[in-house]
């Protein structure tokens, strides 16, 4: 901060920034080794560092003002399933040959470059691997069999009985999706929020999908900012322990507050909208999301989140997804969604055309989930 901004200390935001700066600079000595560095330089320096210095530790990565440094562009694509498949039910981690087989089997199932199956399936696969993130066909480097790390069985915990009102909401949603899948949506409300370009994978907790799995993190004193590529909604996370916004202010992406626990950024998010079709159909009123981001090494951030919702599951559950630094030659792109949302128009126009021709809804064959 330059001298001309000494006066800024009178504004609340800056008091906080300066406060955390002096505190953390006092507590944490500057790392002897330069932190993350420019991506290109880092790549060039890596081989030498291998023999000369011990591997970088989480605590080596610091911003100039002393916070743990999570900055970079990260990709969370993986084929490791959220829940452990029954075939590997007894294994948390696979050995190298098992892992290779597991990866190949999943990749074969997900691949859209296959030409087997019915002609309808084949037509659906026209949206093929050319359009997809190739990293979505690789399992995590640690060869885990599920992204869920707790409960130990790698499965979403059993559900609790839900209220009749919520059951009706789920049934209505399922009926709307069935109309959509059959090519006969009544209205834009029959589409899921991603089709309507309201929220996509920018809604926490972050899950890998077929493409645009990139997240850029930029930090400033007192803040961490996570910018998901899809769909360009920056998440501004204050670290100053301010209270959450009032309970009548509800947000599609929730209201995040962050703090550091050692080298880990812990984000608590509340105030989700009730009409969000929230993660795994949890109850927005009782849904509690805690995310943890930890810099592991130059190329990895561990992203971990814990879901708690006593109105939906019998116990909390935790997911871990490694975020990998992307090649510096790659970059974030603008994911314009609503600006050219031809789908929203085509799906509805198509349905009205079918009605005019007297066609009835016929469910079309679905591809495996788009992980």
């Amino acid at each position: 901060m330059t001298h001309r901004f000494a006066a800024l200390a009178s504004t609340p935001a800056i008091v906080i920034a300066c406060g955390s700066l002096s505190l953390l600079m006092g507590q944490a000595p500057q790392p002897a080794r330069k932190a993350a560095g420019e991506p290109q330089k880092q790549a060039a320096a890596a081989p030498a560092a291998k023999s000369a210095a011990p591997p970088a530790k989480s605590s080596d990565f610091r911003t100039p003002w002393g916070d743990p440094d999570l900055q970079g562009v990260w990709n969370d694509a993986t084929s490791t399933p959220l829940q452990r498949p029954t075939g590997v039910a007894d294994k948390t981690v696979l050995n190298d040959s098992e892992a290779e087989e597991f990866q190949e089997e999943i990749a074969n199932r997900l691949s859209r470059d296959r030409r087997d199956g019915s002609s309808e399936l084949d037509a659906n696969r026209a949206y093929n691997e050319h359009w997809m993130d190739y990293r979505r066909l690789k399992i995590t480097k640690d060869h885990r069999t599920s992204l869920i790390v707790d409960p130990p069985d790698g499965r979403i915990p059993p559900t609790v009985p839900i209220s009749a009102e919520r059951q009706k909401e789920r049934d209505d949603r399922a009926a709307a999706l069935a109309r959509f899948n059959a090519g006969m949506p009544n209205s834009y409300f029959d589409f899921d929020l991603p089709i309507r370009c309201v929220v996509r994978t920018d809604m926490p907790p972050y899950m890998p999908i077929i493409y645009n799995n990139d997240f850029q993190i930029v930090q400033s004193p007192g803040y961490v900012i996570i910018a998901p590529e899809m769909i360009h909604s920056t998440r501004i996370i204050p670290l100053d322990k301010r209270p959450h916004v009032g309970k009548n202010l509800q947000l599609w992406l929730g209201d995040p507050r962050g703090h550091w626990e050692g080298n880990t950024l812990v984000i608590e998010t509340t105030n989700f909208r009730p009409d969000t079709n929230i993660f795994q159909q949890a109850d927005p009123a009782t849904f509690h999301l805690t995310e943890r981001l930890t810099r592991v090494d130059a190329k990895t951030v561990n992203y971990e989140y814990t879901i708690e919702d006593p109105h939906t599951w019998t116990r909390p559950w935790t997911v871990r997804i490694p975020w990998t630094r992307i090649d510096p030659a790659e970059q974030m792109y603008e994911y314009a969604c609503y600006e050219d949302n031809y789908d929203e128009s085509h799906f509805l126009q198509g349905a009205r055309d079918r009605e005019r021709r007297g066609e009835v809804a016929v469910p079309i064959p679905r591809l495996p989930p788009l992980q």
């Binding site: 901060m1 330059t2 100039p64 003002w65 834009y188 400033s220 910018a227 501004i236 603008e334 929203e344």
Partner: protein
């Protein structure tokens, strides 16, 4: 900041009425006054354009006038003519630059320091628009985009952002002021007090204007306690307008 540059981090907002019209404008009823009354009306304001007037080419001025006449219309029945009618702001499309900076919504400048991130981010409340500002790079835009390709550098205490690689569909205001895909904007953000940035943008587009021109206005720091950007996810506010005609009508 630790690297010696001024600290522009914060929530900022313009107070000008330029989103209604960059040039001098009287108070106006706005479209559909028979429905909206004063709710749809706009305030008067003085031009933020240096010299007062935008130097349009004659044929371009005719298009601006047509834009104004059709500003509140939309037609998404054909992909080919999708963007032909109406102000993109009314349809919740990303606003482009410099319009994002004088919409009546706050935005946050995110400025880091040190070698680990050669980026800044500008995050706007309106439509969750985001700009990634790449510092000290000569790399050209890989593809055209709504918010443009932003390359930042410091000129003393002034943050300079060179923005190119625009799509042609954004407008400058509700008066129909527009540009082509050759738009080039150079922005200057200069701290003039702890609570103000002076903002200046030089706008160049040889297809539409006879010479480069400038807009200039202050940005004010939002000072409310615990201020934060909320959400203006406006797509749901426009779906009936854009897609309502394709929705199934109840059988009589």
């Amino acid at each position: 900041m630790p690297d010696g540059h001024p600290d522009l981090n914060g929530y900022w907002q313009a107070l000008v009425t330029a989103d209604w019209d960059l040039q001098d404008h009287e108070a106006q009823a706005g479209p559909k006054p028979e429905i909206n009354g004063v709710y749809g009306a706009g305030p008067a304001g003085q031009s933020i354009v240096e010299g007062g007037v935008i130097p349009y080419r004659p044929e371009a001025l005719a298009k601006k006038k047509k834009n104004f006449e059709t500003r509140a219309m939309s037609d998404v029945s054909s992909d080919k003519t999708w963007h032909n009618l109406g102000d993109p702001e009314m349809k919740c499309y990303m606003p482009g630059v410099p319009r994002a900076n004088y919409l009546p919504f706050p935005f946050r400048i995110v400025q880091s320091s040190g070698a680990s991130t050669p980026y800044m981010i500008i995050s706007y409340e309106y439509a969750n628009s985001t700009r990634i500002v790449r510092m000290n790079t000569k790399a050209e835009a890989p593809i055209p985009s709504w918010m443009g390709w932003s390359r930042g550098s410091w000129d003393g205490d002034t943050l300079v952002i060179d923005v190119s690689g625009f799509r042609e569909e954004t407008w400058f205001d509700r008066a129909g002021d527009y540009h082509s895909d050759e738009l080039h904007v150079v922005e200057r953000y200069t701290p003039v007090s702890p609570f103000h940035l002076m903002y200046e943008a030089t706008i160049e587009d040889p297809k539409v204007f006879t010479r480069p021109w400038k807009v200039r206005f202050p940005l004010y720091r939002r000072m409310e306690q615990n201020f934060q950007i909320l959400e203006f996810k406006c797509a749901p506010f426009t779906e009936e307008m854009l897609y309502g005609r394709f929705v199934k009508k109840p059988t009589p």
